[in-house]
Amino acid sequence: MSTDVAIVGIGIHPFGRTEGVSGRAQGAHAARQALGDAGVQWSDIQFTYGGSHSAGDADSLVSDLGLTGAPFINVHNGCGTGGSALISARSALLSGQYDLGMVVGFDKHPRGAFATKPSSLGIGDWYGETGMMVTTQFFAQKIGRYMEQYGIGEETLAAVAEKSFSLGAANPNAWRRSPKTRQEILDAPMVNHPLTQYMFCSPGEGGVALVLARGEVAHRYTANPIYLRSAEFRSRRFGSFEVFSPWTTPEILSGPTGDASAAAFTSAGIGPEDIDVAQIQDTESGAEIMHMAETGLCAHGEQEKLILTGETRPDGSLPVNTDGGVIANGEPIGATGLRQVFESVLQLRGDAGDRQVPGNPKTGFTHVYGAPGISACTVLSR
Protein backbone atom coordinates (compact mmCIF):
# COMPACT_ATOMS: atom_id res chain seq x y z
CA MET A 1 0.00 0.00 0.00
CA SER A 2 1.00 3.55 -0.68
CA THR A 3 -0.58 6.77 0.53
CA ASP A 4 0.28 9.18 -2.28
CA VAL A 5 0.62 9.30 -6.03
CA ALA A 6 2.68 11.99 -7.74
CA ILE A 7 2.90 13.26 -11.31
CA VAL A 8 6.61 13.31 -12.11
CA GLY A 9 6.58 13.89 -15.86
CA ILE A 10 4.28 15.61 -18.36
CA GLY A 11 4.15 15.74 -22.14
CA ILE A 12 1.88 17.23 -24.76
CA HIS A 13 1.43 17.37 -28.51
CA PRO A 14 0.00 20.79 -29.41
CA PHE A 15 -3.78 20.77 -29.81
CA GLY A 16 -5.62 21.86 -32.94
CA ARG A 17 -5.26 20.56 -36.47
CA THR A 18 -1.94 18.95 -37.42
CA GLU A 19 -2.24 17.80 -41.03
CA GLY A 20 -0.25 14.69 -41.85
CA VAL A 21 0.32 13.66 -38.22
CA SER A 22 -1.88 10.82 -36.96
CA GLY A 23 -3.51 10.82 -33.57
CA ARG A 24 -1.27 7.90 -32.60
CA ALA A 25 1.83 9.86 -33.56
CA GLN A 26 0.60 12.76 -31.40
CA GLY A 27 0.17 10.33 -28.50
CA ALA A 28 3.68 8.95 -29.01
CA HIS A 29 5.07 12.50 -29.13
CA ALA A 30 3.41 13.32 -25.81
CA ALA A 31 4.61 10.05 -24.26
CA ARG A 32 8.25 10.69 -25.24
CA GLN A 33 8.06 14.24 -23.90
CA ALA A 34 6.66 13.00 -20.58
CA LEU A 35 9.41 10.37 -20.30
CA GLY A 36 12.03 13.05 -20.96
CA ASP A 37 10.44 15.36 -18.38
CA ALA A 38 10.61 12.59 -15.77
CA GLY A 39 14.13 11.59 -16.84
CA VAL A 40 13.16 7.98 -17.45
CA GLN A 41 13.09 5.54 -20.35
CA TRP A 42 10.02 3.81 -21.76
CA SER A 43 11.58 0.57 -20.47
CA ASP A 44 11.27 1.97 -16.91
CA ILE A 45 7.47 2.27 -17.23
CA GLN A 46 5.88 -0.68 -15.46
CA PHE A 47 2.32 -0.20 -16.76
CA THR A 48 0.25 2.19 -18.92
CA TYR A 49 -3.40 3.09 -19.14
CA GLY A 50 -4.27 4.87 -22.37
CA GLY A 51 -7.14 5.80 -24.58
CA SER A 52 -8.36 7.34 -27.80
CA HIS A 53 -11.93 7.67 -29.04
CA SER A 54 -11.40 7.75 -32.79
CA ALA A 55 -7.66 7.59 -33.52
CA GLY A 56 -6.95 3.89 -33.02
CA ASP A 57 -6.09 1.57 -30.17
CA ALA A 58 -3.87 3.29 -27.64
CA ASP A 59 -1.95 0.10 -26.84
CA SER A 60 -0.61 0.07 -30.39
CA LEU A 61 1.74 2.86 -29.23
CA VAL A 62 4.07 0.15 -27.94
CA SER A 63 5.17 -0.56 -31.51
CA ASP A 64 6.52 3.02 -31.64
CA LEU A 65 7.70 3.39 -28.04
CA GLY A 66 9.24 -0.06 -27.64
CA LEU A 67 8.07 -3.62 -27.08
CA THR A 68 8.86 -4.03 -23.41
CA GLY A 69 6.20 -6.55 -22.41
CA ALA A 70 4.72 -4.23 -19.74
CA PRO A 71 0.92 -4.21 -19.44
CA PHE A 72 -0.85 -1.52 -21.50
CA ILE A 73 -4.57 -1.29 -20.80
CA ASN A 74 -6.87 0.47 -23.25
CA VAL A 75 -9.50 2.78 -21.78
CA HIS A 76 -12.47 3.66 -23.96
CA ASN A 77 -14.87 5.74 -21.94
CA GLY A 78 -15.97 8.72 -24.00
CA CYS A 79 -15.21 12.13 -22.52
CA GLY A 80 -14.18 10.34 -19.30
CA THR A 81 -11.38 8.41 -21.03
CA GLY A 82 -8.50 10.45 -19.58
CA GLY A 83 -10.05 10.63 -16.13
CA SER A 84 -10.76 6.90 -16.12
CA ALA A 85 -7.19 6.13 -17.14
CA LEU A 86 -5.89 8.41 -14.41
CA ILE A 87 -8.10 6.85 -11.73
CA SER A 88 -7.01 3.37 -12.80
CA ALA A 89 -3.32 4.29 -12.75
CA ARG A 90 -3.67 5.97 -9.38
CA SER A 91 -5.28 2.87 -7.90
CA ALA A 92 -2.54 0.66 -9.34
CA LEU A 93 0.14 2.81 -7.69
CA LEU A 94 -1.74 3.17 -4.39
CA SER A 95 -2.04 -0.61 -4.21
CA GLY A 96 1.75 -0.78 -4.03
CA GLN A 97 1.95 -3.12 -7.00
CA TYR A 98 3.98 -0.66 -9.06
CA ASP A 99 6.36 2.29 -8.59
CA LEU A 100 6.08 4.00 -11.98
CA GLY A 101 3.42 4.12 -14.67
CA MET A 102 2.08 6.19 -17.52
CA VAL A 103 -1.27 7.58 -18.58
CA VAL A 104 -1.67 8.69 -22.19
CA GLY A 105 -4.58 10.02 -24.23
CA PHE A 106 -4.77 11.24 -27.80
CA ASP A 107 -7.32 11.79 -30.54
CA LYS A 108 -7.99 13.13 -34.03
CA HIS A 109 -11.61 13.86 -34.95
CA PRO A 110 -13.15 14.94 -38.24
CA ARG A 111 -14.42 18.53 -38.51
CA GLY A 112 -17.82 19.56 -37.24
CA ALA A 113 -19.99 18.49 -34.33
CA PHE A 114 -19.65 14.93 -33.06
CA ALA A 115 -22.05 12.51 -34.78
CA THR A 116 -23.37 9.92 -32.34
CA LYS A 117 -25.66 7.02 -33.17
CA PRO A 118 -28.76 6.99 -30.95
CA SER A 119 -28.69 3.19 -30.80
CA SER A 120 -25.25 3.29 -29.13
CA LEU A 121 -26.98 4.95 -26.16
CA GLY A 122 -30.11 2.80 -26.19
CA ILE A 123 -32.21 5.53 -27.86
CA GLY A 124 -34.44 4.89 -30.90
CA ASP A 125 -33.37 6.02 -34.37
CA TRP A 126 -36.30 8.49 -34.39
CA TYR A 127 -34.39 10.73 -31.96
CA GLY A 128 -31.57 11.29 -34.45
CA GLU A 129 -33.79 11.33 -37.53
CA THR A 130 -35.93 14.12 -36.09
CA GLY A 131 -32.87 16.25 -35.28
CA MET A 132 -32.51 16.00 -31.51
CA MET A 133 -29.29 13.93 -31.34
CA VAL A 134 -27.22 17.13 -31.20
CA THR A 135 -25.06 17.86 -28.14
CA THR A 136 -25.09 21.62 -28.65
CA GLN A 137 -28.88 21.74 -28.21
CA PHE A 138 -28.53 20.37 -24.70
CA PHE A 139 -25.96 22.94 -23.61
CA ALA A 140 -28.03 25.76 -25.11
CA GLN A 141 -31.17 24.66 -23.30
CA LYS A 142 -29.41 24.14 -19.97
CA ILE A 143 -27.72 27.56 -20.01
CA GLY A 144 -30.91 29.23 -21.30
CA ARG A 145 -32.82 28.04 -18.25
CA TYR A 146 -29.92 28.87 -15.96
CA MET A 147 -29.53 32.42 -17.32
CA GLU A 148 -33.19 33.11 -16.66
CA GLN A 149 -33.06 31.53 -13.20
CA TYR A 150 -30.01 33.53 -12.07
CA GLY A 151 -30.36 36.68 -14.20
CA ILE A 152 -27.19 36.08 -16.24
CA GLY A 153 -26.85 38.08 -19.48
CA GLU A 154 -25.45 37.24 -22.91
CA GLU A 155 -22.47 39.54 -22.36
CA THR A 156 -21.28 37.11 -19.68
CA LEU A 157 -21.36 34.26 -22.22
CA ALA A 158 -19.21 36.40 -24.50
CA ALA A 159 -16.86 37.38 -21.66
CA VAL A 160 -16.12 33.70 -20.94
CA ALA A 161 -15.14 33.04 -24.57
CA GLU A 162 -13.17 36.31 -24.70
CA LYS A 163 -11.07 35.02 -21.79
CA SER A 164 -10.64 31.62 -23.47
CA PHE A 165 -9.32 33.14 -26.71
CA SER A 166 -7.10 35.58 -24.84
CA LEU A 167 -5.53 32.75 -22.80
CA GLY A 168 -5.28 30.57 -25.91
CA ALA A 169 -3.18 33.36 -27.42
CA ALA A 170 -0.85 33.05 -24.40
CA ASN A 171 -0.63 29.24 -24.65
CA PRO A 172 1.81 27.89 -27.28
CA ASN A 173 0.03 24.48 -27.21
CA ALA A 174 -3.46 25.91 -27.85
CA TRP A 175 -5.42 25.69 -31.11
CA ARG A 176 -7.12 29.11 -31.07
CA ARG A 177 -4.32 31.65 -30.69
CA SER A 178 -6.01 34.90 -31.72
CA PRO A 179 -7.87 37.07 -29.21
CA LYS A 180 -11.49 37.93 -30.03
CA THR A 181 -13.57 40.80 -28.70
CA ARG A 182 -16.87 40.29 -26.91
CA GLN A 183 -18.65 41.94 -29.83
CA GLU A 184 -17.04 39.57 -32.37
CA ILE A 185 -18.15 36.65 -30.23
CA LEU A 186 -21.73 37.95 -29.89
CA ASP A 187 -21.90 38.73 -33.63
CA ALA A 188 -20.68 35.25 -34.75
CA PRO A 189 -23.27 32.96 -36.38
CA MET A 190 -25.82 31.62 -33.92
CA VAL A 191 -25.44 27.86 -33.45
CA ASN A 192 -28.14 27.21 -30.87
CA HIS A 193 -29.76 30.20 -29.22
CA PRO A 194 -28.26 31.81 -27.08
CA LEU A 195 -24.88 30.32 -28.05
CA THR A 196 -22.87 31.55 -31.04
CA GLN A 197 -20.14 29.74 -32.94
CA TYR A 198 -17.29 31.34 -30.95
CA MET A 199 -18.85 30.31 -27.64
CA PHE A 200 -18.43 26.61 -28.53
CA CYS A 201 -15.44 24.29 -28.58
CA SER A 202 -14.82 22.12 -31.63
CA PRO A 203 -13.69 18.51 -31.89
CA GLY A 204 -9.96 18.60 -32.62
CA GLU A 205 -6.65 16.81 -32.23
CA GLY A 206 -3.93 16.47 -29.62
CA GLY A 207 -2.16 14.19 -27.20
CA VAL A 208 -1.15 14.31 -23.52
CA ALA A 209 0.89 11.91 -21.40
CA LEU A 210 1.70 11.85 -17.70
CA VAL A 211 4.30 9.80 -15.84
CA LEU A 212 3.06 8.88 -12.37
CA ALA A 213 4.99 7.50 -9.44
CA ARG A 214 4.21 6.12 -6.02
CA GLY A 215 4.55 9.07 -3.64
CA GLU A 216 7.36 7.44 -1.65
CA VAL A 217 9.65 7.29 -4.68
CA ALA A 218 8.55 10.47 -6.50
CA HIS A 219 11.68 12.43 -5.57
CA ARG A 220 13.82 9.97 -7.52
CA TYR A 221 12.36 11.47 -10.69
CA THR A 222 11.73 15.13 -10.03
CA ALA A 223 12.42 17.93 -7.58
CA ASN A 224 8.83 19.15 -8.07
CA PRO A 225 6.38 16.27 -7.70
CA ILE A 226 2.74 17.31 -8.04
CA TYR A 227 0.55 15.05 -5.95
CA LEU A 228 -2.70 13.65 -7.26
CA ARG A 229 -4.67 13.98 -4.03
CA SER A 230 -7.84 12.51 -5.43
CA ALA A 231 -9.45 11.36 -8.67
CA GLU A 232 -13.15 10.52 -8.72
CA PHE A 233 -15.57 9.52 -11.45
CA ARG A 234 -19.38 9.51 -11.23
CA SER A 235 -22.20 8.62 -13.60
CA ARG A 236 -25.60 10.27 -13.44
CA ARG A 237 -28.16 9.57 -10.75
CA PHE A 238 -31.92 9.85 -11.13
CA GLY A 239 -33.11 13.38 -11.72
CA SER A 240 -30.07 14.84 -13.45
CA PHE A 241 -30.49 16.84 -16.68
CA GLU A 242 -28.24 15.32 -19.31
CA VAL A 243 -27.29 15.48 -22.96
CA PHE A 244 -29.18 13.01 -25.22
CA SER A 245 -32.25 12.69 -22.98
CA PRO A 246 -35.64 12.23 -24.70
CA TRP A 247 -37.14 13.04 -21.29
CA THR A 248 -36.09 14.49 -17.97
CA THR A 249 -37.59 15.19 -14.56
CA PRO A 250 -39.43 18.49 -14.08
CA GLU A 251 -37.15 19.28 -11.14
CA ILE A 252 -33.37 18.82 -11.42
CA LEU A 253 -32.49 16.65 -8.42
CA SER A 254 -28.83 15.80 -8.92
CA GLY A 255 -25.90 15.96 -11.35
CA PRO A 256 -22.72 13.99 -11.94
CA THR A 257 -20.57 17.14 -11.75
CA GLY A 258 -21.78 17.91 -8.24
CA ASP A 259 -21.35 14.28 -7.19
CA ALA A 260 -17.85 13.80 -8.66
CA SER A 261 -16.50 17.12 -7.43
CA ALA A 262 -17.85 16.61 -3.91
CA ALA A 263 -16.29 13.13 -3.84
CA ALA A 264 -12.96 14.49 -5.07
CA PHE A 265 -12.88 17.20 -2.40
CA THR A 266 -13.89 14.78 0.36
CA SER A 267 -11.26 12.27 -0.72
CA ALA A 268 -8.57 14.99 -0.88
CA GLY A 269 -9.54 16.42 2.50
CA ILE A 270 -9.77 19.99 1.23
CA GLY A 271 -12.66 22.10 -0.03
CA PRO A 272 -13.31 24.15 -3.16
CA GLU A 273 -12.44 27.31 -1.19
CA ASP A 274 -8.88 25.97 -0.90
CA ILE A 275 -8.33 25.68 -4.67
CA ASP A 276 -5.85 28.13 -6.24
CA VAL A 277 -6.40 27.26 -9.92
CA ALA A 278 -9.21 25.29 -11.60
CA GLN A 279 -9.71 23.69 -15.03
CA ILE A 280 -13.38 22.92 -15.64
CA GLN A 281 -15.40 21.61 -18.58
CA ASP A 282 -16.21 24.51 -20.90
CA THR A 283 -17.80 22.74 -23.87
CA GLU A 284 -19.32 26.17 -24.38
CA SER A 285 -19.30 29.44 -22.46
CA GLY A 286 -22.39 28.51 -20.49
CA ALA A 287 -20.87 25.25 -19.30
CA GLU A 288 -17.99 27.13 -17.69
CA ILE A 289 -20.48 29.40 -15.93
CA MET A 290 -22.67 26.56 -14.62
CA HIS A 291 -19.79 24.25 -13.73
CA MET A 292 -18.14 26.97 -11.62
CA ALA A 293 -21.07 26.65 -9.23
CA GLU A 294 -21.85 22.94 -9.69
CA THR A 295 -18.30 22.09 -8.62
CA GLY A 296 -18.64 24.34 -5.56
CA LEU A 297 -15.98 26.86 -6.63
CA CYS A 298 -18.57 29.63 -6.19
CA ALA A 299 -22.26 29.96 -5.37
CA HIS A 300 -25.01 29.78 -8.01
CA GLY A 301 -25.63 33.29 -9.32
CA GLU A 302 -22.21 34.65 -8.29
CA GLN A 303 -20.60 33.88 -11.65
CA GLU A 304 -21.59 36.96 -13.63
CA LYS A 305 -19.92 39.36 -11.23
CA LEU A 306 -16.80 37.17 -10.93
CA ILE A 307 -16.47 36.88 -14.71
CA LEU A 308 -17.20 40.49 -15.63
CA THR A 309 -14.75 41.79 -13.01
CA GLY A 310 -11.94 39.52 -14.25
CA GLU A 311 -11.78 37.33 -11.15
CA THR A 312 -11.66 34.16 -13.28
CA ARG A 313 -8.55 35.32 -15.15
CA PRO A 314 -5.15 34.01 -13.99
CA ASP A 315 -4.56 37.11 -11.85
CA GLY A 316 -8.05 37.01 -10.31
CA SER A 317 -9.27 35.43 -7.09
CA LEU A 318 -10.69 32.34 -8.86
CA PRO A 319 -8.56 31.47 -11.92
CA VAL A 320 -10.51 29.18 -14.25
CA ASN A 321 -9.33 27.46 -17.45
CA THR A 322 -5.97 29.17 -17.52
CA ASP A 323 -4.87 27.40 -20.73
CA GLY A 324 -7.95 28.61 -22.63
CA GLY A 325 -9.99 25.49 -21.87
CA VAL A 326 -11.60 23.44 -24.61
CA ILE A 327 -12.91 26.62 -26.27
CA ALA A 328 -9.30 27.53 -27.17
CA ASN A 329 -7.84 24.01 -27.26
CA GLY A 330 -10.60 22.03 -28.94
CA GLU A 331 -11.78 18.69 -27.69
CA PRO A 332 -9.83 15.59 -28.71
CA ILE A 333 -11.85 13.22 -26.52
CA GLY A 334 -9.05 10.89 -25.43
CA ALA A 335 -6.74 13.76 -24.45
CA THR A 336 -9.03 16.47 -23.10
CA GLY A 337 -9.20 15.49 -19.42
CA LEU A 338 -5.44 14.91 -19.29
CA ARG A 339 -4.85 18.37 -20.82
CA GLN A 340 -6.49 19.85 -17.74
CA VAL A 341 -4.09 17.92 -15.50
CA PHE A 342 -1.13 18.94 -17.68
CA GLU A 343 -2.07 22.62 -17.26
CA SER A 344 -2.56 22.17 -13.52
CA VAL A 345 0.93 20.68 -13.18
CA LEU A 346 2.45 23.56 -15.18
CA GLN A 347 0.66 26.06 -12.93
CA LEU A 348 1.68 24.33 -9.68
CA ARG A 349 5.29 24.06 -10.88
CA GLY A 350 5.25 27.76 -11.77
CA ASP A 351 5.99 26.96 -15.42
CA ALA A 352 2.88 28.43 -17.09
CA GLY A 353 4.64 31.43 -18.62
CA ASP A 354 2.47 34.38 -19.65
CA ARG A 355 -0.65 32.79 -18.13
CA GLN A 356 0.95 31.83 -14.80
CA VAL A 357 -1.27 32.32 -11.76
CA PRO A 358 0.73 34.62 -9.45
CA GLY A 359 1.55 33.86 -5.81
CA ASN A 360 2.88 30.30 -6.16
CA PRO A 361 -0.40 28.40 -6.37
CA LYS A 362 -0.39 25.25 -4.26
CA THR A 363 -3.63 23.50 -5.21
CA GLY A 364 -5.38 22.65 -8.46
CA PHE A 365 -8.71 21.14 -9.46
CA THR A 366 -9.84 19.56 -12.72
CA HIS A 367 -13.34 18.68 -13.91
CA VAL A 368 -14.61 16.88 -17.01
CA TYR A 369 -18.27 16.51 -17.97
CA GLY A 370 -19.56 14.50 -20.90
CA ALA A 371 -22.18 12.31 -22.48
CA PRO A 372 -24.24 10.48 -21.44
CA GLY A 373 -23.96 12.11 -18.00
CA ILE A 374 -20.52 11.47 -16.52
CA SER A 375 -18.03 13.57 -14.64
CA ALA A 376 -14.41 13.01 -13.60
CA CYS A 377 -12.64 15.33 -11.14
CA THR A 378 -9.19 15.54 -9.60
CA VAL A 379 -7.56 17.53 -6.82
CA LEU A 380 -3.82 18.20 -7.13
CA SER A 381 -1.30 19.88 -4.87
CA ARG A 382 2.40 20.58 -4.55
Binding site: G112, G128, G131, H193, F238, T248
Partner: protein
Amino acid sequence: MSTTIRWVDPALVIDPAAGGPVELAGARCPVCATTAFPFQGGCPRCGGEAMERVALPTTGSLWSYTVQNFEPKPPYRGVEPFEPYGVGYVDLGDVCVESRLTVNDPAALSLGMAMRLVTITAFVDGDEPVLTFAFAPQEVAA
Protein backbone atom coordinates in the same frame (compact mmCIF):
# COMPACT_ATOMS: atom_id res chain seq x y z
CA MET B 1 -53.63 8.46 -52.60
CA SER B 2 -52.62 6.37 -49.63
CA THR B 3 -54.33 7.14 -46.35
CA THR B 4 -51.83 5.12 -44.30
CA ILE B 5 -50.21 7.21 -41.60
CA ARG B 6 -46.50 6.55 -41.21
CA TRP B 7 -44.74 7.54 -37.98
CA VAL B 8 -40.99 7.94 -37.60
CA ASP B 9 -41.45 5.36 -34.81
CA PRO B 10 -44.96 4.04 -34.10
CA ALA B 11 -43.98 3.25 -30.51
CA LEU B 12 -43.92 6.99 -29.72
CA VAL B 13 -47.71 7.33 -29.73
CA ILE B 14 -50.65 5.45 -28.22
CA ASP B 15 -52.50 4.92 -31.50
CA PRO B 16 -50.22 5.37 -34.53
CA ALA B 17 -53.09 4.62 -36.94
CA ALA B 18 -55.31 7.39 -35.61
CA GLY B 19 -55.78 10.26 -38.00
CA GLY B 20 -56.91 12.75 -35.38
CA PRO B 21 -55.33 14.11 -32.19
CA VAL B 22 -52.48 11.96 -30.90
CA GLU B 23 -51.20 11.07 -27.45
CA LEU B 24 -47.58 10.26 -26.59
CA ALA B 25 -46.96 6.82 -25.11
CA GLY B 26 -44.93 7.00 -21.92
CA ALA B 27 -43.93 4.47 -19.28
CA ARG B 28 -45.06 4.68 -15.68
CA CYS B 29 -43.63 2.63 -12.83
CA PRO B 30 -46.38 1.12 -10.65
CA VAL B 31 -43.93 0.92 -7.73
CA CYS B 32 -42.44 4.45 -7.51
CA ALA B 33 -44.71 6.35 -9.96
CA THR B 34 -41.77 7.56 -12.08
CA THR B 35 -42.77 8.47 -15.63
CA ALA B 36 -40.40 8.16 -18.60
CA PHE B 37 -40.66 8.72 -22.36
CA PRO B 38 -40.70 6.92 -24.73
CA PHE B 39 -41.76 3.58 -23.27
CA GLN B 40 -39.01 1.58 -21.60
CA GLY B 41 -39.22 -1.71 -19.74
CA GLY B 42 -37.11 -0.90 -16.68
CA CYS B 43 -37.65 1.91 -14.17
CA PRO B 44 -34.68 4.35 -14.14
CA ARG B 45 -35.40 5.27 -10.54
CA CYS B 46 -36.15 2.04 -8.63
CA GLY B 47 -35.09 -0.61 -11.14
CA GLY B 48 -38.61 -2.08 -11.26
CA GLU B 49 -39.40 -4.20 -14.30
CA ALA B 50 -43.15 -3.67 -14.62
CA MET B 51 -43.42 -0.31 -16.39
CA GLU B 52 -46.94 0.37 -17.66
CA ARG B 53 -47.68 2.03 -20.99
CA VAL B 54 -49.58 5.27 -20.35
CA ALA B 55 -50.86 8.18 -22.42
CA LEU B 56 -49.07 11.40 -21.49
CA PRO B 57 -50.92 14.73 -21.17
CA THR B 58 -51.17 16.60 -24.47
CA THR B 59 -50.63 20.03 -22.94
CA GLY B 60 -47.89 21.42 -20.74
CA SER B 61 -45.52 24.32 -20.23
CA LEU B 62 -42.23 25.12 -21.95
CA TRP B 63 -39.37 24.05 -19.64
CA SER B 64 -36.40 24.90 -21.90
CA TYR B 65 -35.84 25.79 -25.55
CA THR B 66 -33.33 26.53 -28.24
CA VAL B 67 -33.27 26.78 -32.02
CA GLN B 68 -31.27 24.44 -34.26
CA ASN B 69 -29.67 26.83 -36.73
CA PHE B 70 -27.44 24.43 -38.67
CA GLU B 71 -28.38 21.20 -40.42
CA PRO B 72 -27.36 18.25 -38.21
CA LYS B 73 -25.25 15.40 -39.56
CA PRO B 74 -26.99 12.08 -40.32
CA PRO B 75 -28.87 10.24 -38.88
CA TYR B 76 -30.87 13.52 -39.14
CA ARG B 77 -33.39 13.36 -41.97
CA GLY B 78 -35.19 16.62 -42.54
CA VAL B 79 -37.48 18.24 -45.01
CA GLU B 80 -35.46 19.87 -47.84
CA PRO B 81 -34.42 22.64 -47.97
CA PHE B 82 -33.21 22.88 -44.36
CA GLU B 83 -34.98 25.42 -42.20
CA PRO B 84 -33.93 26.13 -38.60
CA TYR B 85 -36.25 24.45 -36.13
CA GLY B 86 -37.10 24.89 -32.46
CA VAL B 87 -36.33 22.22 -29.85
CA GLY B 88 -37.44 22.26 -26.24
CA TYR B 89 -38.49 20.28 -23.20
CA VAL B 90 -42.15 20.52 -22.30
CA ASP B 91 -43.20 19.92 -18.69
CA LEU B 92 -46.19 17.59 -18.74
CA GLY B 93 -46.46 17.35 -14.95
CA ASP B 94 -44.84 14.03 -14.15
CA VAL B 95 -42.23 14.18 -16.90
CA CYS B 96 -40.55 16.67 -19.25
CA VAL B 97 -40.50 15.46 -22.85
CA GLU B 98 -37.95 16.72 -25.38
CA SER B 99 -39.66 17.72 -28.59
CA ARG B 100 -39.46 19.60 -31.84
CA LEU B 101 -41.23 22.96 -31.54
CA THR B 102 -43.32 24.47 -34.34
CA VAL B 103 -41.74 27.87 -33.65
CA ASN B 104 -38.13 28.67 -34.66
CA ASP B 105 -37.93 32.28 -33.46
CA PRO B 106 -36.46 32.42 -29.94
CA ALA B 107 -38.13 35.78 -29.42
CA ALA B 108 -41.51 34.04 -29.79
CA LEU B 109 -40.67 31.49 -27.07
CA SER B 110 -40.45 31.93 -23.31
CA LEU B 111 -40.07 29.62 -20.36
CA GLY B 112 -43.38 28.58 -18.84
CA MET B 113 -45.50 29.33 -21.91
CA ALA B 114 -48.43 26.98 -22.51
CA MET B 115 -47.83 24.35 -25.19
CA ARG B 116 -49.93 21.70 -26.92
CA LEU B 117 -49.07 18.49 -28.75
CA VAL B 118 -49.31 18.49 -32.57
CA THR B 119 -48.09 16.34 -35.45
CA ILE B 120 -45.52 17.48 -38.03
CA THR B 121 -43.81 15.94 -41.06
CA ALA B 122 -40.30 14.96 -39.95
CA PHE B 123 -39.11 14.08 -43.45
CA VAL B 124 -40.42 12.71 -46.73
CA ASP B 125 -39.41 9.17 -47.76
CA GLY B 126 -39.91 8.89 -51.53
CA ASP B 127 -43.18 10.80 -51.69
CA GLU B 128 -44.48 9.51 -48.38
CA PRO B 129 -44.53 11.95 -45.46
CA VAL B 130 -43.12 10.52 -42.22
CA LEU B 131 -44.67 12.01 -39.09
CA THR B 132 -43.34 12.90 -35.69
CA PHE B 133 -44.65 14.79 -32.68
CA ALA B 134 -44.03 18.43 -31.88
CA PHE B 135 -45.30 21.03 -29.47
CA ALA B 136 -46.87 24.33 -30.51
CA PRO B 137 -47.69 27.39 -28.42
CA GLN B 138 -51.32 27.25 -27.22
CA GLU B 139 -53.46 29.72 -29.13
CA VAL B 140 -54.64 32.45 -26.85
CA ALA B 141 -58.45 32.57 -26.88
CA ALA B 142 -59.65 35.61 -28.81
